[in-house]
């Protein structure tokens, strides 16, 4: 039953399975196991079954809407869903019910997908462990004492734990790729502007991008294809045709040049991770890819630039939560008192920390030293990628410097931020990146291989990932959840 979406739909076509039976089974499994994992914040049981029944009718009539028709999927709770509360993992939005669907959700419904529910995340997508949800932490299906990564940890854990056949998350500094690596699934951040951000509750508007979590690369291609493409409601979305990603998958990596950046193998990185990634690169070489060393010297500074830009934009995006129009309100003597009490009660510690940091770096006298400087460093990061991609087709690197850590292990904010050193540059430069399982640590924890591509070159990223996946058997391993 827990097979990739493309296998489910094959079974629908043959009539071996029905969308309703599959949806019921997933809902039952969520009821039985999600208490342990905590992947979901909201499960829309009845809506899901209704959608599944409609899908079933289409399959029976031999007129499915496409490769996602009847696919039971989950969406991160930062994507607005009409009539279904969208909390962003925050007390601030506990009772917020959007009157509209995010473009991604709209396209999923149009594609016939069966949305099972909204998945857990670090509050307002600020975090790398999904420990900082205002509701409950999410646990890693491979080891419930460990974190699933974050901020899209709920979506990653749902797919890894067989609680959804596929899922969507958002990636601002690694929030799709890092949890995908931690949970042993495929996760992709497309090019900035490839998927509409309309209806995605903003963390950092110039970095946020929506992308899929999948059991395999084929599903990732299908899930991306269903939501990619220009949207007039998002001024930053790119007007470019969407290729048939699935059709490109089998072209192989023979003849492709893969860049290997020295800066992505720093001293003191987890040895299991380094070993697995280097083995993965050997596999790609064996498949006919040329490997070439590239240099991205600004990489060590990307983290600092990111932690200026992100809090700055976040402090601005989160200014609207003031107890006036929607969300939480805590009574106060007067307006300012009400707003201050509301924001203090509605936001968690990490959110307050970043709002304070962002407000500070934008405040009078500090703009040039921080925001202006960080935006220039961002230019350098983009230039270095551009230079590298002039020589190589793809860049291959580890997704994370470490394996899933234990809940509560990382208390100091900075050590938590360091999780994203290898994924952040992709957001700063807007290029597409994907994490594909490439092995396990001695302790049996998943490790991810990251592939980065040229802007809008998702097809080639997916194609290399597919070639690697087909040459290895990592995806056959699944966590035992009972």
């Amino acid at each position: 039953m827990y097979r990739p979406i493309h296998e489910l739909t094959d079974a629908y076509r043959r009539g071996d399975l029905t969308p309703t039976a599959v949806a019921e089974d997933y809902l039952a499994r969520i009821g039985k196991l999600d208490g342990k994992v905590g992947a979901y914040l909201t499960v829309v049981h009845d809506q899901a079954l209704a959608a599944a029944r409609e899908s079933e009718l289409r399959w029976r009539a031999g007129s499915p809407r496409g490769p996602l028709d009847g696919a039971p999927i989950a969406v991160k709770d930062v994507l607005c869903t009409a009539g279904v509360r969208t909390t962003c993992g925050s007390k601030m939005l506990e009772r917020f019910v959007p009157p509209f669907d995010a473009t991604t959700v709209e396209r999923l419904r149009a594609a016939g997908a069966v949305i099972l529910g909204k998945t857990n995340l670090d509050e307002f997508a600020m975090g790398s462990s999904t420990e900082h949800s205002a509701y409950h932490p999410t646990r890693n299906p491979w080891d419930l004492t460990r974190v699933p990564g974050g901020s899209s940890g709920g979506s990653a854990a749902a797919v890894a734990g067989g609680l959804a056949a596929g899922a969507y998350g958002s990636d601002t500094g690694g929030s799709i790729r890092q949890p995908a690596a931690f949970c042993g699934v495929v996760g992709m951040k497309p090019t900035y502007g490839r998927v509409s951000r309309y209806g995605l509750v903003a963390l950092a508007s110039s970095l946020d991008q929506i992308g899929p979590f999948a059991q395999d690369v084929t599903d990732a291609a299908l899930l991306l294809g269903a939501v990619a493409g220009h949207d007039p409601r998002d001024a930053t979305s790119i007007e470019a045709p969407v290729p048939d990603y699935a059709a490109e998958l089998t072209k192989g990596v023979a003849g492709l040049t893969l860049g290997l950046p020295d800066e992505y193998f720093p001293d003191g990185m987890d040895l299991d991770v380094e070993r697995a990634v280097r083995q993965g690169i050997e596999v790609l070489k064996g498949l006919g890819a040329k490997i070439e060393r590239v240099s991205l010297p600004t990489t060590p500074h990307a983290l600092a630039a990111y932690y200026v830009i992100l809090p700055a934009e976040a402090s601005s995006n989160l200014a609207r939560y003031d107890g006036v129009k929607y969300g939480l309100r805590v009574a106060g003597r007067d307006l300012i008192d009400m707003e201050s009490r509301t924001r203090s009660a509605g936001f968690g510690a990490e959110v307050k920390r970043r709002i304070m940091l962002g407000t500070y770096v934008l405040s009078a006298g500090y703009y040039d030293a921080y925001y202006g400087k960080a935006q220039s460093v961002r230019t350098l990061v983009r230039r270095e990628f551009a230079a590298a991609f002039a020589k190589v087709d793809l860049i291959v690197a580890p997704t994370t410097p470490n394996v899933p850590f234990k809940h509560g292990e990382k208390q100091d904010p900075l050590s938590m931020y360091l999780n994203d050193v290898f994924t952040i540059p992709g957001n700063l430069s807007g290029i597409p990146g994907l994490s594909v399982p490439c092995g396990f640590s001695a302790a049996g924890l998943p490790i991810g291989l990251q592939l980065l591509g040229r802007p809008l070159d998702e097809a080639r990223v997916l194609r290399a990932a597919y070639a690697y996946e087909q040459a290895t058997s990592w995806r056959s391993r699944r966590p035992e959840l009972t």
């Binding site: 959007p98 601005s316 934008l362």
Partner: protein
């Protein structure tokens, strides 16, 4: 003249916010209609809902360029939007999407008619932004226990135009605003309705000892929503600052609010609590690179502006500059004048005095019964241009006297009938046949032998007395020309 201005020199700069006459809002599709029921013209975007995104209204940009060209501003090749942060409950996102370092246009000028004749006032910048919602207070702002917000106006396109501090008196400030308003109305970019808030004005005013070259401490005055308010508020502030300086006090840099009912300005916010707006480039919007061809197209489509019309009216119609100034207070009034003139002198051969007669009647009669700056009222005048001309023709061909014509005008206005109908119905035609008039004159002369004696002796004024008698006898219908 204000006593203050003899000892001190006043320096005033005006910031005018004009609502643009677009169909939809600046960043969303909601209508901009004034006076709808509260909160019926909103959407996720203009309510600042999580996940919503702005998209620029092309028409608003076009109107901005159109206005910029009318003021001779340089339209910048590239401009961008920025976020301006401050908390206020009528501003849904708690930041306003505005323009900061890269405005749409800069460096223009506006000619105004001041006591000293024509003066040219510099325009520093012109930029686009979004309006905020409307706050209603339960009572006054100070006493209200609560306030209520209507977001219909939130997101309506605003064009902010900042003058250079080159206005030297409250009169000039009012003249600037009048001329400014006329230009916008002629361009059709704003309805100029100050009561409905389509045109709002803030002023910066400082005074300094005559001859001094350094600027005094400036005070910002908000809420100047009529020409009268602009003048009165600035006169009050001029006096207040002069008295403060005379008393050896120093002027505090602050924002003051004009209370039109009580006729004074009071402190709103002093520099110590000045906002720290934390501007940064709006990441949800991409930069605009203004296409020169577009600018040229707009330039080619510019209508005749007040200044050009005044010049033409003086040169071509021989109107006094004062008349031309009065007529250009609205587009409708100029259209009215032009239409009437076309009607009256098609070949404009005869009646060189007609243009002046016409402006006299419009200024003394039409503007007595209708507000000249009210486009709608003038356009819908119960006495259309052709009918006014009909009346003037009756004077011209001596059917009625000018004195009677004024009564007929009022009757036309009240009843909506044309001049001839009224004159015939009320039997107001002049006694023009000499026979009938002869008898009247003889009887008058018979009754006034003394007056005739005096006249013969050369007392010219005696004639006047006699004519007066005749007029009296004919109830003013006699044609004095006979």
């Amino acid at each position: 003249m204000n006593p203050a201005t003899t000892k001190y020199e006043t320096v005033i700069g005006l910031e005018v916010h004009a609502q643009l006459l677009t169909r939809s809002k600046m960043f969303c599709g909601c209508p901009t209609t004034f006076g709808a029921r509260p909160n019926t013209q909103t959407c996720p975007v203009c309510l600042g809902m999580p996940g919503s995104l702005p998209v620029v209204n092309r028409r608003a940009v076009e109107f901005g360029i159109r206005t910029a060209l009318a003021f001779g501003c340089r339209v910048n090749d590239a401009c961008r939007f920025a976020r301006k942060h401050y908390y206020y409950p009528d501003m849904p996102k708690n930041y306003q999407i505005s323009q900061y370092e890269e405005p749409l246009a800069e460096n223009g000028a506006l000619e105004i008619e001041a006591e000293g004749g024509t003066r040219t006032i510099g325009i520093q910048r012109l930029h686009l932004e979004e309006d905020v919602g409307k706050l209603l207070h339960e009572g006054t702002l100070e006493t209200a226990q609560a306030s209520l917000v209507d977001f219909n106006r939130s997101g309506v396109p605003l064009m902010e135009t900042v003058s250079r501090p080159e206005l030297r008196s409250p009169e000039e400030a009012a003249a600037y605003l009048r001329a400014f308003r006329a230009v916008l109305i002629f361009l059709g970019v704003c309805d100029g309705n100050m009561e409905e808030g389509s045109l709002r004005c803030d002023a910066n005013i400082s005074i300094r000892p005559r001859g001094s070259t350094t600027l005094g401490t400036k005070v910002e005055i908000k809420n100047l929503n009529s020409f009268r308010n602009v003048q009165h508020a600035l006169e009050f502030e001029e006096r207040r600052q002069a008295q403060a300086l005379d008393a050896g006090e120093r002027i505090v840099q602050e924002t003051r609010l004009w209370d039109a009912d009580r006729g004074y300005t009071r402190s709103m916010r002093s520099k110590e609590f000045a906002h720290d707006y934390r501007y940064f480039p709006e990441p949800d919007l991409v930069p605009l690179q203004i296409d020169r061809r577009w600018v040229e197209e707009i330039k080619a489509s510019l209508p005749e502006l007040p200044r050009a019309w005044r010049r033409r009216a003086v040169a071509q119609y021989g109107l006094p500059p004062y008349d031309a100034e009065v007529l250009t207070q609205s587009r409708a009034l100029v259209d009215y004048y032009e239409a009437a003139l076309r009607e009256w002198s098609p070949a404009s051969g005869a009646g060189a005095e007609r243009p002046k007669i016409l402006s006299n009647w419009i200024m003394s009669e039409l503007l007595r019964v209708l507000p000249g700056d009210d486009e709608r009222a003038i356009a819908a005048s119960p006495i259309p241009p052709a009918r006014l001309v009909g009346l003037l023709r009756l004077i011209e061909n001596a059917t009625i006297s000018g004195k009677i014509a004024k009564d007929v005008f009022q009757k036309m206005f009240d009843t909506g009938d044309d001049a001839r109908t009224i004159v015939e119905r009320d039997g107001l035609t002049q006694v023009a046949d000499e026979g009938a008039l002869g008898q009247v004159i003889e009887s008058v002369m018979a009754a006034n032998p003394k007056a005739i004696e005096d006249y013969r002796r050369g007392k010219k004024e005696a004639k006047g007395a006699l004519v007066g008698q005749v007029m009296k006898a004919t109830r003013g219908k006699a044609n004095p020309a006979l």
